[in-house]
């Protein structure tokens, strides 16, 4: 296969994750995948379909409905020298395992004075938009990003889905990976080698622009790109910065983009109060205050549990209409 052919390789976000898991398992026999219905069922979002046949039940390890136990066991196995990938079906159910992640995975390396490493990867689906109602629609990335000791990733593109897992597995720290539920069917090119997608320290500019910076992550990156297209037709060039890594944040990338565009709108599917957007906004105010030509804007989920009814859910989420309104406010009279 020539390099160009390989570069043009296209697959779905779901397949990209599967290929990344497969590669991780082939490269290191300490790597195993565990979680509810990852084996016989093929993963509740189909990510691990076929892997049971390929690797067998020891390494594609189905669990009972016991989030606290199997996430905790993943943490323990990592302490014991394995390289577990733990799949928690969704962030909503990760709340049952929050104790293990926050009280154990995040603290023990430091609390033990550096004696213990916890190289575990915990993957989970996040987000709303599919009329699954309040208990299946949370976006709690910022809760995890709040916790020192954890690294938090949010692949938004197919290439990131393909390449971020490798470095996450190689990282000696607990890494939480958020996969937005609306992304699994997205198709995209992955390239033949990792390139910038294989980095888990930097944000990435998905669309350059001079007039305004959209800061986003996960599904919101696509909302931002859509809004940027509309703005372009109005003569406003918005830059779209995909955070990719939610902890530790790539502060330099945020500040340098805002320093060029002088305006920022942050798009975040968390609730506004205490959101990740709040943190990014505070960073900009602290480090680029004198660069700003307009107040920092935030488009977050409205302050309510996500309703089932489709029109209410769409109104509650950071949709393109709301993003455009915030962008137009930011560029104001001289936009």
């Amino acid at each position: 296969m020539s390099a160009t052919e390989a570069t043009a390789r296209t697959m779905s976000y779901r397949e990209a994750l599967r290929e990344a898991i497969r590669e991780g398992m082939q490269a290191d026999e300490r790597v195993f995948l565990t979680g509810e219905d990852v084996g016989a069922y093929g993963g509740s979002f189909g990510v691990s379909r076929g892997l049971l046949d390929e690797f067998g039940p020891e390494r594609i390890r189905d669990t009972p409905l016991s989030e606290a136990a199997f996430v905790g066991a993943g943490i323990g196995a990592a302490m014991g020298g394995m390289r577990p990938i733990v799949e928690v079906m969704t962030v909503n159910f990760s709340l049952l395992a929050l104790d293990q992640i926050v009280n154990n995975a995040a603290t023990i390396p430091h609390m033990s004075g550096g004696q213990v490493q916890i190289p575990v990867v915990v993957r989970m689906t996040t987000g709303a938009g599919r009329q699954l109602a309040a208990q299946h629609s949370h976006s709690l990335e910022g809760w995890y990003a709040h916790v020192p000791g954890l690294k938090v990733l949010a692949p938004a593109t197919v290439a990131d889905a393909r390449w971020m897992l490798g470095p996450a597995l190689a990282d000696p720290n607990p890494v939480i990976v958020f996969e937005h539920g609306s992304l699994y069917n997205r198709e995209g090119e992955i390239g033949d080698t990792a390139g910038p997608a294989g980095d888990i320290t930097r944000a990435s500019i998905r669309r350059p622009g001079r007039d305004l910076t959209f800061v986003a992550y996960g599904q919101s990156v696509w909302t931002a790109l859509e809004a940027a297209e509309t703005l372009a037709s109005e003569g406003v060039e918005a830059e779209v910065l995909d955070l990719r890594v939610l902890r530790p944040l790539d502060t330099d990338a945020v500040i340098s983009s805002v320093t060029r565009t002088h305006r920022a709108v942050i798009i975040d599917e968390m609730w506004r109060t205490g959101s990740l957007a709040a943190e990014v906004s505070a960073l900009i105010t602290e480090q680029a205050f004198y660069e700003l030509d307009a107040p920092v804007g935030r488009v977050c989920t409205q302050e309510l549990p996500i309703p089932y009814a489709g029109h209410l859910e769409q109104a509650a989420l950071p949709n393109t209409t709301r993003v455009l309104a915030a962008a137009r406010e930011a560029v104001g009279g001289d936009g």
């Binding site: 069922y41 409905l65 309040a134 089932y308």
Partner: protein, 322 residues
């Protein structure tokens, strides 16, 4: 059950079946969205347990709860309007299929977190106990929930405090794609309850009479203040876990074998043998339930969407606590 009670149980099962078969069509037509978990095959459980409860008793359920709600007397039209996301729905369109709440019927949801309802049931029972009311709380959950810590913590607490909870475990053998034996080291579920000193019975959940008998016994004991009970109701879901599930983890033969034990067909035979049901009466019951479902569809179709500016109502209480 004899006489009118038997006919009522059959009517309830037919209503659930007819309602849910219509839901499948409405889901294909995109009138119902999100997750839809069907109870088809498990009707005898709800139809057997609910008649044992009094109007003041409480019910806590799961995301597979249409059958529980209908059997409890929640109107089909309000349930369907909810699934259409309309103001006329039990939760004004905010909850959908997985979150039916109807406090007038003492129906406390509709919980989509596996095991999430059990502690709440313990608390409702605690409130009744502390207020000196002799109500009981029936708490439904699947066998998959038994692997969750919340199951064990709740059983222990209810037993320790001798609270009036009937734990109704609907053992349909699969939690999504995971068969019981692949998720439990001890598959005898009543033993788990017994280990908390909770009296437990295993019941044929495809036989509505057997379920009703067990429910009456359990309610009697729990209401008398003897502490919680655990019922294992052995049943089977005829359909996939949800509309998203390709159902590749069970054999067609296994499903066919269980379908031969269809609780509705079986009970029709029981009532026929007892001489309390003939063709005309059965046809009349079918017509009646079809009419209820037709009415529900018309009602849900004609319903109104909640205005977007009312969306944040009920995030906080609108009235002072009673």
């Amino acid at each position: 059950m004899t006489g009118a009670a038997g006919t009522d149980a059959l009517r309830t099962m037919l209503l659930i079946r007819t309602f849910e078969e219509r839901c499948v069509e409405l889901y294909s037509a995109a009138k119902i969205r999100g997750f839809l978990h069907l109870y088809i095959g498990e009707e005898a459980v709800a139809a057997g347990i609910m008649p044992a409860l009094e109007p003041g008793d409480r019910v806590v359920s799961t995301y597979r709860e249409h059958g529980h709600a209908l059997a409890r007397g929640v109107p089909a039209r309000s349930v369907l309007a909810e699934m259409f996301g309309k103001v006329e729905g039990v939760c004004r369109g905010r909850g959908g299929s997985m979150h039916l709440f109807d406090v007038a019927h003492r129906f406390y949801g509709g919980n989509a977190i596996v095991g999430g309802g059990l502690p709440i049931a313990v608390g409702l029972a605690l409130a009744d106990r502390m207020a000196g009311r002799d109500h009981v709380t029936a708490c439904f959950f699947g066998e998959g929930a038994i692997a969750e810590g919340e199951f064990h913590e709740s059983l222990n607490l209810a037993a320790l405090w001798r609270l009036p909870v009937i734990f109704c475990c609907e053992n349909n053998l699969y939690a999504m794609g995971t068969a019981l034996a692949r998720s439990e080291s001890e598959v005898n579920l009543t033993m788990k309850a017994a280990s908390y000193e909770v009296p437990a019975w295993s019941v044929d959940g495809m036989d509505v009479d057997a379920v009703a008998d067990a429910a009456r016994r359990a309610v009697l004991s729990v209401r008398a203040g003897d502490g919680p009970c655990f019922l294992e109701l052995r049943t089977y879901r005829f359909r996939a876990h949800s509309m998203y599930d390709p159902d590749l983890y069970r054999t067609r033969e296994e499903i066919a074998r269980w379908r031969e034990r269809d609780p509705i067909d079986a009970y029709v035979q029981v009532l026929r043998d007892a001489g309390t049901l003939d063709d005309a009466a059965l046809e009349a019951l079918r017509d009646e339930t079809r009419a209820v479902v037709d009415d529900a569809v018309a009602y849900a179709e004609a319903g109104t969407p909640e205005p977007v500016d009312e969306m944040t109502r009920f995030v906080y209480a609108e009235e002072a606590a009673p």
